[in-house]
């Protein structure tokens, strides 16, 4: 018995020592479907490659970014425009390529490395029910601003983050020159906006362009005709220290990043939000389909 205990404790000790030496990576994710899929996908992928992965998702952008700067998160998928405007306070209008180059440069000073960007551009957008938009003759954000200024009594559903972001609600109203009263704006969890809009509880909802529910629920995305929104290229961002410790990580992540574009992300998101499949299964299915698992 005693020898067994010794053996067991020895084994336990050996295993903890082994994990301490293995390549530990903490993968982060934000609090909406696409980010949870990406976090799960990345975790499973890196786990399959032999890394010791821990997954932490469900945070707001600012919290996640703070955690990465503090070294509590090693890797997560960020959008170029979010970093440009919210973390680096750049207000210039830049092309998608310029945006990427600029955040790569600015974030490098903070010890963060932007890897190869994917072709997915998950911009914020405002959407309406298709029939309602046609009936009111609203196709662009300028049309929307006009309708608000004509007091058509439109109500809006936004999420908490967008309402207060620097590329969010207040600057958007300034750019298009309209003002919506406090009582006509309902704030809620990102995922509920789609339901609220579909069920007619609001007239306009804040959506993510790559969300699968936009086609599924027959929404019309209003065109950002004055190019208010920046580029939001979906890109893996990793701490420089982590990359130094695991140099092969870059090529491995580039492989994954190269597979993602708007249609792919929209499809994956729809599998979760419309077909109600679990995030883990959807992520796993995608990896297997591309022989990454």
């Amino acid at each position: 018995m005693k020898t067994l205990m010794t053996l067991l404790s020895g084994a336990a000790l050996a295993s903890t020592m082994a994990t301490a030496q293995a390549n530990e990576i903490v993968v982060g994710g934000k609090n909406f479907t696409e980010q949870q899929i990406l976090a799960s996908m990345t975790s499973q992928y890196l786990d399959g490659l032999g890394y010791d992965v821990e997954q932490r998702s469900g945070m707001g952008s600012a919290v996640l970014r703070q955690a990465q700067e503090n070294g509590q998160i090693d890797l997560y998928w960020e959008y170029t425009g979010t970093s440009l405007i919210n973390y680096n306070d750049v207000t210039e209008r830049l092309s998608p390529e310029e945006t990427y180059a600029r955040v790569k440069e600015l974030d490098a000073e903070k010890g963060l490395v932007w890897l190869a960007p994917s072709d997915a551009n998950n911009t914020y957008a405002l959407a309406m029910r298709e029939d309602d938009a046609q009936e009111r003759g609203i196709a662009t954000l300028s049309d929307l601003a006009q309708a608000v200024n004509d007091d058509e009594g439109l109500t809006f559903a936004l999420n908490a983050e967008f309402y207060a972001r620097e590329d969010g609600w207040r600057p958007l109203q300034q750019a298009y020159d309209f003002r919506v009263g406090r009582g006509d704006v309902k704030r809620m969890d990102s995922g509920l906006v789609y339901q609220a809009l579909r069920d007619g509880q609001v007239d306009v909802g804040l959506v993510f362009a790559t969300d699968g529910r936009i086609p599924a629920f027959d929404f019309q995305v209003l065109e950002d005709d004055q190019n208010y929104f920046p580029a939001y290229a979906l890109t893996p961002v990793v701490r420089a220290e982590t990359l130094e410790a695991n140099p092969e990580l870059e090529a491995q992540m580039d492989k994954l990043s190269g597979l993602l574009d708007d249609a792919t992300m929209s499809g994956l998101n729809a599998q979760v939000d419309v077909d109600k499949e679990t995030i883990e299964r959807v992520a796993e299915g995608f990896l297997k389909e591309h022989d990454l698992l």
Binding site: N31, M59, G60, S61, A62, V63, Q66, A157, A160, E161, Y163, A164, R165, R182, K186, R187, M188, D189, L192, Q195, A196, D199, Q201
Partner: protein, 243 residues
């Protein structure tokens, strides 16, 4: 009502701490940040209190008759199992109740009020039932002995004697209710949760506290309000705090 009994030195210490906190908050500019959110706080606090008022009063209106009904002798067999069901109901996290009510009532004020109503209903019903069951059998026997009808006994003996316990239930339930309303933000019903959750999402502690501190103050205020009401409404002879 219980009061804090502090010795002179302790009281001085508390005063000093409060004073220092005031000095710090003024000098660090936090006060200005809070003032920035003041319009938001006012708007949302009104929304917050409406949610509490509607769900709370509905809960009181349903829970007290339900508690009385369960405490009647004819219901004795059902009462225990009903109480167990209510006990189970109390242990379900409010967030889950909100999520469930959202699934069949959609989003916004209606499911939030319903979810809060359910969460508030249970403690009041339980206290009403316990309070009525706890009335001394000797009193009940005396009441029957002088020829009171069951209705008279309920109104003149049982309820006055149980009133203090019933109020304690309402106090607890409504304080919990106010503290739970922030979760209603997640299903689109507004309230001070907007500031709390946005503050969490944006890593903005001041915004978060602008929601959290008023929520706590409202909970305390509601609790005190009901305590005062109880003090005034419960007759002198059966009121421990006025004995």
């Amino acid at each position: 009502m219980p009061t804090l009994n502090l010795s002179g030195a302790m009281r001085l210490l508390v005063l000093v701490v409060v004073f220092m906190a005031g000095v710090w908050s003024q000098s660090s500019g936090v006060i200005d940040d809070f003032i920035f959110y003041l319009p938001d706080i006012q708007y949302l606090a009104v929304q917050h209190l409406w949610l509490t008022a509607i769900s709370g009063s509905l809960a009181i209106l349903v829970a007290i008759p339900l508690g009385i009904l369960l405490s009647r002798p004819t219901m004795e067999k059902v009462a225990e199992s009903a109480m167990q069901v209510l006990n189970v109901g109390t242990t379900i996290p409010t967030l889950a109740v909100l999520a469930l009510s959202m699934s069949f009532l959609g989003i916004g004020t209606v499911p939030a009020v319903f979810g809060l109503f359910v969460a508030t209903l249970l403690p009041i019903t339980r206290n009403t039932y316990t309070g009525l069951k706890g009335v001394s059998p000797a009193l009940m026997e005396a009441a029957a002995g002088i020829g009171m009808s069951p209705t008279q006994r309920l109104l003149r003996v049982e309820l006055p004697n149980a009133l203090y316990v019933i109020f304690a239930g309402i106090r607890t339930a409504l304080a919990i209710n106010v503290g739970t309303v922030p979760l209603a933000f997640l299903i689109g019903a507004g309230g001070l949760g907007e500031l709390i959750f946005t503050g969490i999402d944006l890593y903005d502690p001041v915004m978060m506290l602008s929601g959290a501190i008023p929520t706590a103050l409202l909970a305390v205020a509601v609790d005190m309000l009901i305590a005062v009401t109880a003090f005034l409404m419960v007759p002198r002879g059966v009121n421990p705090s006025r004995a």
